[in-house]
């Protein structure tokens, strides 16, 4: 076996077939849910004229943000010169593409008129950050695809570094753009903040690293290729730092809002008395999604355990979904403040907390997007030499050599 060699994961096993069928089944269920939503109309979902974006958007934004972060490992190699990570760069880029396609599929299938996707691709309003994101998302898939190709094609390998740079710059822009979807919303108190862009960049690093670690552990187990504990330890350490950075930006966002009397109400709603958002924030996002993983990752005895790292990564993913639920749903649930100092009532729920209860169709659509991402990764590692035969860092650890 050549050191640094890549090979497909095989031969076909019963486990592989079961996995593909199961993922395909979930994907079909998601497509069926989307079809039902389009033919019946969105009234069969929990979304309404008060909460216009729901669970599909929570999962779609999570997958898109995680996609950007999943490219971390490849960037460590190409941008930051950590050639030790080179063996994992292909998987990192494939995961990034898969997550993005999964997220975009959810987003597109939730549109009121998904049949008009061609309109969105041909009519652009360049004042809209949404339109910019359409370009950023499709561009990311193309650049990451070229990146993988150049890494795998011996003749083009010398160009993979500049393409890696381009992918890195592109994904930072992409995540800033995704954060700015909310940051640019002047109408709503829970958004309208420049910090949304860097917050989403930090979230992408944390969620993407967690998604990569889960994928890596799953691939190692499925392919019976033992994972080097050194990889695990470094990824775990990196992930823990990103979790802290996310907490920092979240604290900066809420404390800045708290300082302005006009925003006291929305901070109180999200952190103290908004039901269920305050509970989700403290119990889900902060405790289970951040503090418990940090304990797992920072306890010396546990941090080298694959099981502990797997649990920590899963908790970070759950915490991330919770965080996006609080941002997206909670931010809409807080009523618009048109008349400060007044109690407002109407037949259109003015002055009331928005009510939202997701339906099965929405969860199925979201699960379908995740299944699509998992299916892309599963099939790709089966047919292309993406995964190194030895899941270990490259020889001559340049991390210590360069620093």
């Amino acid at each position: 076996m050549r050191p640094g060699a890549f090979s497909v994961i095989g031969p076909r096993s019963a486990g592989f077939r079961i996995l593909v069928v199961a993922l395909g089944g979930v994907l079909l269920a998601g497509l069926w849910a989307a079809h039902t939503m389009e033919s019946e109309g969105h009234h069969i979902t929990g979304m309404n004229n008060q909460i216009v974006w729901g669970i599909p958007h929570v999962f779609a934004v999570f997958l898109i943000v995680a996609a950007s972060g999943a490219l971390n490992v490849a960037s460590l190699n190409s941008v930051f010169g950590r050639v030790a990570y080179q063996p994992l760069a292909r998987l990192s880029a494939i995961l990034a593409i898969a997550l993005l396609l999964g997220g975009l599929t959810i987003l597109v299938l939730d549109l009121g008129r998904p049949d008009r996707l061609i309109v969105a691709m041909t009519y652009y309003n360049f004042r809209s950050i949404f339109a910019w994101n359409i370009i950023l998302y499709t561009g990311f898939v193309v650049i990451a695809g070229i990146y993988v190709w150049f890494m795998m094609e011996r003749r083009f390998q010398r160009y993979s570094k500049p393409v890696g740079f381009a992918a890195f710059a592109w994904r930072l822009t992409l995540t800033s753009g995704t954060g700015s979807i909310f940051g640019f919303l002047i109408a709503r108190e829970a958004y309208d903040a420049a910090v949304m862009a860097p917050l989403f960049v930090a979230m992408s690093f944390a969620f993407g690293t967690a998604a990569f670690l889960i994928t890596l552990l799953a691939v190692a187990r499925a392919s019976a290729r033992p994972l080097d504990p050194d990889i695990l330890a470094r990824q775990a350490r990196l992930m823990s730092i990103f979790v802290v950075v996310v907490l920092y930006f979240v604290a900066a966002f809420h404390l800045t809002n708290l300082y302005a009397a006009e925003h006291g109400g929305v901070v109180r709603f999200l952190l103290v008395d908004g039901d269920p958002y305050a509970l989700l924030f403290w119990a889900g996002q902060v405790t289970l999604g951040s503090l418990v993983p940090l304990v797992l990752l920072w306890t010396p005895r546990l941090s080298r355990s694959p099981a502990a790292c797997f649990v920590a990564a899963c908790l970070i993913v759950l915490g991330g979904l919770t965080q996006l639920y609080v941002i997206i749903i909670g931010g809409q649930a807080y009523p618009l403040m048109l008349f400060p100092g007044y109690e407002v009532s109407s037949t259109f729920f003015d002055g009331e907390t928005g009510r939202y209860s997701a339906t099965l169709n929405e969860y199925l659509l979201a699960a379908g997007g995740i299944a699509l991402a998992a299916l892309i990764v599963t099939l790709t590692v089966r047919v292309l030499p993406i995964v190194p035969e030895r899941l270990r860092l490259a020889a001559g650890d340049s991390v210590t050599a360069r620093t």
Binding site: G41, H43, N49, L111, G112, R113, A131, I186, Y342, S346
Partner: protein, 253 residues
């Protein structure tokens, strides 16, 4: 010469009579022409010289009255399915009560037809657009139903069509899966120009309240511009600097 005079008088009389008939006959179409001049030919571009808007006198708006809402619903065929969370509302009545003084008043809330509309800025396809005359609309043919405009609207003025529609009206096309809001009765405006009265204002007058005035904000001689100049009015969320086309009067601050 004397014999010629009666003839000349008769001829003059005949001429004047004929002139009277001609003038009389032309009076009706003339009045019609005045109306047509105020309107816009179907193929004529909308002029930026005008800016249509509404002035709402909240002191004339009764808390118990929702005639404007009913008038709008009827005009545009907005039939609810008894699902308040998803039924479309282009105009709604807000009842306000001050938290400390207890002072109460009521007003209609609808698309404010902003000069710098956030819904237009955020729309990825350009389906949300502002006409040159200030009316903010949704092009139902290129709206993809992303609802970003609903997230961006500070006035919660837009509705998403959550279900299949039936018996639509020709002048108010709608479509499942797209977003919609007050059109300022654009079909009436394009037909009658400055003589147009939106359905909400018409219903308000019929109810005897006269709380809603429609007109050209750019025409210094129009009722709306005159009243704005002499009586003043305010914008809702003026802090956002959107320069709304709908202004509110006599609203306690």
């Amino acid at each position: 010469m004397t014999a010629a005079t009666p003839f000349a008088d008769r001829a003059r009389r005949r001429f004047l009579k004929g002139l009277g008939v001609v003038l009389g006959a032309s009076a009706a179409p003339g009045a019609l022409l005045v109306e047509l001049a105020a309107a816009k030919a179907p193929d004529e571009a909308v002029s930026g010289a005008r800016r249509w808007g509404l002035l709402i006198d909240t002191s004339q708006c009764a808390e118990s009255c929702d005639a404007c809402v009913r008038g709008c619903n009827e005009e545009h065929g907005l039939v609810g399915k008894d699902r308040p969370a998803t039924d479309a509302q282009w105009i709604r009545k807000l009842n306000l009560r001050h938290r400390t003084t207890g002072h109460a008043h009521s007003l209609p809330m609808l698309c404010q037809h902003c000069d710098a509309p956030p819904c237009v800025d955020v729309c990825p396809t350009g389906a949300s657009f502002k006409r040159a005359d200030g009316i903010v609309l949704v092009d139902k043919h290129i709206c993809i139903g992303c609802r970003y405009c609903m997230m961006a609207c500070p006035y919660k003025a837009r509705s998403f069509i959550h279900e299949t529609l039936r018996d639509q009206l020709a002048h108010a096309p709608r479509g499942k899966g797209t977003v919609e809001s007050c059109t300022l009765c654009v079909h009436r405006v394009d037909r009658s120009g400055q003589d147009a009265v939106p359905a909400c204002a018409e219903a308000c007058v019929e109810e005897g309240h006269h709380a809603i005035v429609f007109g050209d904000l750019n025409d210094a001689t129009s009722v709306i511009a005159t009243r704005l100049r002499s009586e003043g009015a305010r914008e809702i969320r003026a802090d956002l600097g959107l320069n709304t086309g709908v202004r509110y009067q006599r609203m306690p601050s």
